[in-house]
């Protein structure tokens, strides 16, 4: 039985439905990331789990108990807010101890639990400071401290790293992953940053317009995106999407004509989910790392716009002959000047999406 069970929940703000029937199951100890563009309803969904937003329809159960309409305090959850929401008039110790002080936990126990949390988060020297005397990363830790000290059933994170600078974000990301390993708690994490989603999640839930687009492990979603939206959203740099048309369909192989391609037709090996009719418009999806410089047997030729030397690898930003943007990741250092025509081939099984944007891969 799942630990957190969200069953067909909906959320209505006036006449606007922001969550349109979402069902998600999470196992105990799982790290689930809700990801999606802004306005997709991911934060609203998180706040519904917390009980900060009323649920318009459906049910939410935690540890087997229906909490759909339960008071937030009764759900045994802790939340880390994007703004940290530290109480500015209290020092770090009192911020972390706040919930226990409300519950009148004995002083000695409060002290030992706060110190334990501070030790895990390495903020022991900061316990006497006020939030305004802390750096962004320290505030973040204090906010996490307030969450872990309560030993909640579920941790909720609402874009906790978005106020930090790039370097600190990377560091805190690792810290959160380490924390999850250390305490093994169930965590629900909301972000619009697909890198955070890929690196942290056991399972990613991709949301768009109040609906779940796809759920799965990061590699599942990366390797087998169900539709164009998921394919375009996950993966950095983004997948290149080239319009094409089916010349000959078949269960094991498709022959496509694509305006960007070098030859009149290219063959894409199967398998495919369904019979594809000839003449059907499709979209070819190419991950940046599957593209290779291949002068011998090129499949498409692109014009280099700009190259980014990342030290160990190179990002090549290019446009195809029909003006589609394309990014290629080269594992080696490439020296190509902008304007160069570059012959490319793609290995493996490229993604193919039908006219509706749904994948043709099983």
């Amino acid at each position: 039985m799942s630990f957190l069970s969200i069953d067909r929940v909906t959320k209505q703000f006036g006449i606007v439905q922001v969550i349109k029937g979402v069902s998600i199951e999470a196992r105990k100890g799982e790290f689930i990331v809700f990801v999606g563009p802004s306005g997709c309803g991911k934060s609203t969904l998180l706040r519904m789990i917390a009980g900060l937003e009323e649920t318009s329809g459906g049910t939410i159960a935690i540890d087997g108990e229906d909490v759909t309409h339960a008071d937030p305090a009764r759900r045994h959850i802790a939340m880390v807010f994007q703004s940290y929401a530290l109480f500015p008039h209290l020092n770090v110790f009192d911020n972390i101890a706040f919930g226990m002080q409300i519950k009148k936990v004995p002083r000695a126990e409060i002290r030992s639990r706060v110190e334990e949390a501070a030790r895990i988060l390495r903020i022991e020297p900061l316990l006497d400071r006020k939030p305004r005397q802390l750096s962004g990363g320290q505030r973040q830790r204090a906010a996490i401290g307030r969450a872990i000290v309560r030993k909640p059933k579920i941790f909720l994170f609402d874009e906790p790293l978005s106020n930090l600078d790039a370097e600190l974000r990377t560091r805190m990301r690792v810290e959160i992953a380490r924390l999850h390993q250390a305490i093994g708690a169930t965590m629900i994490y909301v972000t619009h940053d697909q890198v955070e989603a890929m690196t942290l999640a056991d399972r990613i839930v991709v949301l768009r317009n109040g609906l779940v687009e796809q759920t799965g492990s990061p590699s599942e979603l990366y390797d087998r995106p169900r539709n164009l939206f998921v394919a375009g959203f996950l993966g950095s740099p983004r997948m290149a999407l080239l319009p094409a048309r089916v010349i000959r369909g078949g269960p094991d192989q498709l022959t496509l004509s694509c305006p960007a391609c070098t030859g009149p037709e290219i063959d894409v090996p199967g398998p495919f989910r369904r019979e594809v009719r000839s003449g059907e418009p499709v979209t070819l999806g190419l991950r940046p790392e599957t593209l290779r410089w291949d002068a011998a047997d090129p499949m498409l030729t692109v014009r280099v716009e700009i190259t980014e030397n990342l030290g160990g690898s190179t990002l090549v930003h290019a446009t195809t002959s029909d003006h589609q943007a394309l990014i290629m990741t080269a594992a080696e250092r490439l020296a190509v000047t902008p304007g160069t025509l570059m012959p490319l081939s793609f290995g493996g099984h490229p993604h193919v999406f039908d006219g509706e944007g749904e994948t043709l891969r099983p």
């Binding site: 937030p72 703004s83 109480f87």
Partner: protein, 290 residues
């Protein structure tokens, strides 16, 4: 030392002039209050001290003094009691008004209940009614309740809440980050605990500002206490001063006694400004920070 530019010099000169103008009445009351009654008229045109005695101050505080006026017709007014009454009156109205107005302001800013906005606008509309119009109905009410000449009757119209204080605090509660309330709620705090332990303390600056404004108002309140609190046991400073003038014969007020009492009455307000003035400045400085 840096040299002042002519513009800055002019600026400081104008400021200095205003400082003198605003301090002059204070100085005059202090000077007269500390003079012997016999010297008042002889040296009226002099700005400096001509004689120095604390006899007038002691006298109006009901303490033994070397100065005895022979022309007194009524029992002397004890300004120590008046000072105490003023303190009680001010503390009651200011703390009560802030506490209850904060409760109401918080509810108007944060809580959802039917008729909330209507109620709030009714409150605002009440602020448009001139205070003077309310004196008679309030007086009749207090009289019928049997609260004349009691502190309860004196503070009744203002201790619960006033539209201004409610509006003032509501605006600040509205600008406070909502996540703080939500975080406290997740920690298991009740609505009152959220108010008392989170929402209220972070408004320390605005509350101090409001407290100063209300304290000055309450300390200077005259007409309402004059109507309902004439008994010496509850008579506040402003009323006692008026009674003091009316006790002495026309044209020959007891100037030294009056000025000693006036000086006495300004001391608490000055002390408060010195203590809290700093906090006002600080609250203005920190409110700009994240």
């Amino acid at each position: 030392m840096t040299k002042l530019s002519p513009q800055a010099f002019l600026g400081y000169a104008i400021l200095a002039l205003f400082v003198v103008l605003s301090l002059l009445p204070l100085w005059m009351s202090l000077k007269i209050g500390l003079s012997y009654p016999t010297d008042v008229f002889g040296d009226a045109e002099r700005l400096g001290m001509t004689s120095l005695t604390f006899g007038n101050v002691l006298r109006v505080m009901g303490l033994p003094s070397d100065i005895q006026l022979t022309a007194f017709r009524a029992a002397p007014i004890d300004f120590t009691v008046a000072l105490r009454n003023s303190l009680i009156y001010t503390v009651l109205t200011v703390t009560g008004q802030i506490f209850f107005s904060a409760l109401a302001g918080y509810a108007f800013a944060r809580m959802r209940f039917p008729g909330r906005d209507l109620l709030f606008f009714a409150f605002l509309a009440a602020a448009m009614i001139p205070g003077i119009v309310l004196f008679i109905p309030n007086f009749i009410l207090v009289k019928d309740l049997g609260l004349l000449n009691t502190f309860a009757g004196m503070v009744a119209p203002t201790i619960l809440m006033t539209p201004f204080a409610v509006f003032f605090l509501r605006q600040f509660f509205m600008t406070a980050p909502k996540e703080l309330d939500e975080a406290a709620r997740l920690e298991g705090a009740s609505a009152f605990q959220i108010f008392w332990r989170v929402a209220l303390p972070i408004q320390k600056g605005p509350i101090a500002t409001l407290a100063i404004l209300l304290t000055i108002n309450s300390w200077n309140d005259f007409f309402w206490p004059f109507l309902v609190g004439r008994d010496p046991d509850v008579r506040v400073m402003a009323v006692a001063l008026a009674d003091f003038i009316s006790q002495t014969g026309r044209g020959t007020p007891d100037w030294t006694g009056l000025m000693a009492a006036v000086t006495l009455s300004t001391i608490p307000v000055l002390v408060m400004l010195v203590v809290f003035g700093r906090q006002i400045v600080e609250s203005l400085q920190t409110s700009g920070m994240k």
